[in-house]
Subunit: 762 residues, 2 copies
């Protein structure tokens, strides 16, 4: 990540800080800035003289330094002051300081606590009720989790995977009947070993990357930016699918208990996405407190289920019940076994969540994260193995209307309250497992944005210190996938493994390179652990990609490729844009000024004609950074000589720069008439009328301005347009939209500044 830290703007490597949106200047840029400043000082008078004395006191006070959020529910509501123009007319006047000379108090008093942009007033109130009061940037660091909260929040994904992982494995094996089911123990054993290996591997990562070592960072730093990007692609598809699969499986747990809800599968899932969206927009800590209970409830439920099952089995001497005779459609072979393996391996998804989120732990972060990871892997292996054993003992097989867990619970507890508790806990943990993705998706996306691979807007922290836009994006993508696959877990599973194990493999290969380069104490042991993890993950990736290619993995592959394409193109755009926006030294090489006194800085086209011609080429660029380089011409587009038109003319004239009025006539009569009005008025500004025989207004005006620019590339043309603004938007269509259309048409012409003089109808 060369250069990334410089631009991180106050954040850590794992998590860009609030100021990453506005990165600092490089040394070269600072030098250029100084030179520009000196040149500005040379061509103009000192600041005190240069800009006339300001007619105002610019300091209007500051925003309140801290959010006045109480701890009670309604205490969260900071009073809102609406920002709309409507508030100006009457009612809300500036009471204390309006008459006084200084407006400092008034400004501070009226500053809105709601800094959101979506809309103040009623909408803002609803927003606050749902999301809580805004959080100040200074609260950023304190939003940390302790282990007992972090465990459920960050491991909900991994632990809940046992609700679908074993079932997915058995679903494949059962295709070969009893012969296939005989392989359930060996395949499960390999998966357990894999869990252990990957878990140990990620412990190394947490130690080496205490600031958060997501696959993107680890792969990027050690294997190169492209590998990092591929890992990020894997992660992003993974997160979207985590949300979709978890919700699908959670809804299945509900419909297993309440079959009447089966037709509502899709709406139920979308509802869950909406709840997750709202919950996550509130921010991390709230999410943690809210989401801790279900995970613990699920762990208790699973151990109760496994315990009860084992007690039952002990009564019959652990003699497995034979599974029902099922149609055998496939024979046992390598392909079947590998498919079962890669399906079962989805139980490992989410195991990396903790290593991504190390900075969200309380200090000492890496130590707490590592302990939490060990707890999680232990719980995961115990629950996974227990469920597989239980399936073997009871002879339960997958069923399209009821999940395996539901069948097991029915066997052990009948339909009583324990069954209800198990289903409810499973549903809750699965629905909330999706939350892990909500913690990580925005982090990865903000890192990508910091490194120019994603739009900078994803760097922007919302007023609740959550990456609001990423959260919305994830919700949309997940809802789309969920709806497209009609919420069927078995259809989503094949897409899932590819992204997960792509990220796993690259991350752990990166760690191998890391240890090899660093050679810290004990580097050999760590390297071996990571190498084992990398090889195993790579094998799963290969297995999943090949054996499930036709049944859905191709979708994930295409998503990854598209992601790579889009991110690299975004980066190349940003790189070009940054190079172009850099302050350039040439701007300083302005010749010593010839012309009027210090109070007339904008002498039009200063200097003799020869030099003027030479400067033309250079000045056709938009690179003037010194007032003396700018030669003005204001062009006022005037249609009627009403109050709005006259006010615009007066505005243009009062700027004290050369100005010109242009009028488009559709007939010669109208042209004559307008000229007559102009001389009646007194001919105070030069007027150019253009006859547009085809009655268009925008095109001839744009063409006139374009030609003016081409003939005088050294001029900066300020096009001044009157615009009538109606009080209600529904009335706006009753007025000419010429100003808006002109603005759009002129937007792409170089060196043309567009000024709108609004005229507000009451």
């Amino acid at each position: 990540m060369t250069g990334a830290e410089e631009r991180a703007g106050g954040g850590t490597a794992g998590l860009p800080g609030p100021t990453a949106v506005l990165p600092g200047l490089s040394d070269e840029q600072v030098r250029a800035l100084r030179r520009v400043g000196r040149a500005w000082g040379r061509v103009s008078s000192p600041p005190e003289v240069w800009h006339r004395a300001l007619p105002v006191e610019p300091d209007l006070g500051a925003f309140p330094a801290r959010a006045e959020a109480g701890s009670a529910w309604f205490g969260r509501l900071v009073p809102l002051s609406p920002l709309r123009a409507r508030s100006l007319s009457g009612r809300r006047a500036v009471e204390p300081a309006a008459g006084a000379g200084s407006g400092a108090e008034a400004g501070a008093g009226a500053v809105p606590a709601d800094a959101g942009t979506a809309g103040a007033g009623a909408g803002g109130t609803v927003r606050r009720l749902l999301l809580g009061a805004p959080l100040a940037s200074s609260a950023f660091v304190t939003e940390r989790m302790r282990k007992l909260v972090a465990l459920p929040v960050l491991s909900a994904d991994a632990l809940s995977s046992v609700a679908y992982g074993p079932e997915a494995m058995i679903t494949v094996l059962v295709l070969a009947g009893a012969a296939g089911l005989a392989y359930s123990f060996p395949v499960a054993a390999v998966i357990v070993f894999l869990m252990l290996a990957v878990g140990v591997s990620y412990r190394q990562t947490i130690r080496a990357y205490p600031h958060g070592g997501g696959s993107y960072i680890v792969a990027g730093e050690n294997l190169g930016p492209t590998a990092g990007l591929v890992a990020a692609a894997g992660l992003m598809t993974d997160y979207v699918l985590t949300v979709a699969v978890s919700i699908a499986s959670g809804v299945a747990a509900i419909t297993s208990a309440l079959p009447g809800l089966v037709p509502w599968t899709v709406p139920l899932g979308v509802l869950v996405v909406v709840v997750l969206l709202a919950g996550n927009l509130r921010g991390i800590r709230q999410a943690g407190a809210l989401f801790a209970a279900p995970t613990y409830a699920f762990v208790i439920a699973m151990f109760a289920l496994i315990g009860a099952g084992l007690v039952d089995a002990a009564e019959t001497g652990f003699r497995p019940v034979a599974p029902p005779a099922l149609p055998v459609t496939e024979t046992v072979g390598l392909l079947l076994i590998t498919r079962a393996f890669s399906s079962g391996a989805t139980a490992m998804t989410g195991i990396e969540a903790i290593s991504n989120a190390v900075p969200a732990f309380r200090p000492v972060e890496w130590r707490n994260a590592r302990t939490t990871l060990s707890w999680m892997v232990g719980l995961l292996i115990a629950m996974f193995a227990g469920i597989v054993v239980l399936i073997h003992l009871t002879g339960v097989v997958p069923h399209s209307q009821e999940t395996v867990l539901s069948q097991l619970a029915h066997l052990s507890f009948g339909g009583g309250w324990m069954y209800v508790y198990i289903q409810a806990a499973t549903a809750a943990v699965l629905l909330l497992a999706a939350n892990t993705a909500y913690n990580d998706f925005p982090r990865v996306l903000s890192l990508l944005a910091r490194d120019d691979y994603a739009p900078k807007t994803f760097l922007r922290l919302g007023d609740r210190l959550a990456y609001s836009r990423s959260i919305v994006l994830l919700s949309l993508a997940a809802a789309l996938v969920y709806i497209a696959f009609e919420g069927r877990t078995d259809a989503l599973i094949p897409l899932y493994a590819v992204g997960v194990f792509l990220a796993f493999t690259l991350s752990q290969s990166g760690m191998v390179v890391h240890w090899w380069r660093r050679r810290d104490p004990h580097w050999r042991k760590s390297l071996v652990f990571n190498a084992v993890g990398a090889v195993l993950s790579g094998l799963v990736l290969l297995t999943a990609g090949v054996s499930k290619f036709t049944s859905g993995a191709w979708v994930a592959l295409i998503a990854v490729l598209l992601f790579l394409l889009v991110t690299t193109r975004i980066r190349s755009h940003y790189t070009a844009a940054r190079a172009y926006l850099r302050l350039r030294p040439h701007a300083v090489e302005l010749p010593a000024r010839t012309g009027a006194g210090p109070l007339a800085p904008a002498t039009p086209a200063g200097g003799p004609p020869a030099r003027r011609e030479a400067k033309k080429a250079k000045e056709a660029e938009e690179a003037e950074v010194i007032p003396g380089e700018i030669h003005h011409l204001s062009v006022v587009a005037v249609a009627t000589l009403d109050l709005a038109g006259m006010r615009t003319l007066a505005y243009a004239a009062s700027l004290g720069q050369p100005a010109l009025a242009v009028h488009i006539s559709t007939t010669e009569d109208e042209q004559r008439r307008f000229r007559a009005y102009w001389s009646l008025w007194g001919d105070h500004l030069p007027l150019q009328t253009v006859l547009s025989p085809y009655r268009a207004v925008v095109a001839p005006l744009v063409h006139y301005i374009e030609t003016l620019h081409r003939l005088n590339p050294e001029l900066t043309l300020t096009v001044i347009l009157p615009e009538i603004v109606t009080r209600h938007r529904r009335h706006q269509f009753l007025h000419s939209r010429t100003a808006a259309r002109l603005r759009r048409a002129l937007r792409h012409l170089p060196k043309i500044v567009i000024t709108t003089v609004p005229f507000h109808l009451p």
Copy 2:
């Protein structure tokens, strides 16, 4: 229509001219303009001194005075020169005059012949191929029709009505079986009398209103504006339904011949709307030439059908064939008869078209229009009566799969070429009858717009001299109605009569008042004719409204009421806006200037504090029309000190007005850093940094500016924003949208001018 003519801008009463969009000033406004000009002269130096010598020669030549459209198909294509910014980079340079002092030639040469706005390049070429070359405004008057062209164009609606009118009448009567059908002659006789009466009545209107006496004008002038508006409401619903009913009936003629097309009824109808849309955007004369043939073909077809039928009947001694025994669901009664009557009266729709379109005739317009009307009524009565007689003789009854005309043609000609010809001609005339509405709808709408009842945009003639926007609106509305009623003629008929006869009744009542007031020679005769027409139309209106209320007339009534509501609200908005936009005399009462020399007109907040306070209240309004009244403060919103930011600062400084930079910081670190950069640069402009602890940018900036305005209402704040413009629109989302959002947020604040300084990425 008091005051309407003044604002008509060069057009006739029947048809606003091309300049109606820009109406002239009233005497009072001209006086105000003069006074403002004198005040401007008093406070500023004479024009020569006041605005510095222009750095350019503003005259860049004119648009070509005439369209270079040839008569050949491809000759219509005027070469296009694209107007986009892209054209500037390379290829199209300004060859001859770029170096010379005057750019007149260059400007004229590069002026695009295509003045359309929708998009030049490929889109423009397609547009030209479909619609023809643009027509100059001077061609407006010459777009006239001679009688033999006007007859088919304007009477297609009326004549084609016989395709559904008789059938609609019989459809109702047959509900009472043979007893009901016995009333077909009496009802038809009343309708024929009505046709005659209304026809004679409209002859009077044409004579009295040689500039086009549509129901809107006649009712408005004689019965008051509200009556005119009600008549317009009737007309507008009528035109929309004319299109829908004609197309439905025309498609039925096609599906009668080709029953396989029945499932395609709706798409076929929509296709016809699209064809009509394109045809009419080309303009009137082309439409006339294109649409003359089908009407004549239809007239010939009908007379052939009636003739053949009568010959057949003569062979059997004119003994009517008994109609098939049908289930009798109703008894003969007043309600049944009136319903049959009002259904049959739809055969009269379109009879008013000629009187609306008098100015489209060649001179002497009224005489030609009158003659054409007589021809049309004669043809209409002959065809209507013939068809009714034929139905009686053959005993044909309506059938859901086949139209009555198709059945009659089958009886007379079997399935041979004559049958095909009759069906084709019927379909063609019906599909083109809709075209009458395309001639009239835009006219009425432009009159409404002229009188402030409709958005002014409907006054705008497209570059083919057609009211493009009205044509598009009509097409949309008709397509919507057609789709909503699934193209079923019988479902649309009940909606139809209300609008038509509402307009008829008001128009003819208006004529009665007209004659009564004027007392021209022969006024008594004319008055009687019109009174008879008015009473009969009123009876039909009443009959249709009452007897068909539940079966669809209520929809038409609601449409009329909605229309009245919307148009009156539009007018009240325009009235208020015009009053507010009027130049006000108070602007002149500026005190004699105190302050600097004539070259510094924009002295900030001139005058001693006391007077300044007094002026504050007045100047808080947006009513400054004299440069000296405007006190500037430029506020530059600057986020980063890159090329775009520095250029914006230089622009603001070079204006020579007091300027101030505002920066929004999200953290205190960032704030300190930015201030440090600012002093490195040299502190050339006053800087205000605002700390936004909730990370919003737009809201604090808007609030700052709003507070600044409230504390200094006498200042005109120019908010200057840098805006990065990408070459491709798809890249725009990668850059901050702050400028656009700020512009939207600031738009509603008073006295705030918004200037965007675009910076174009290559």
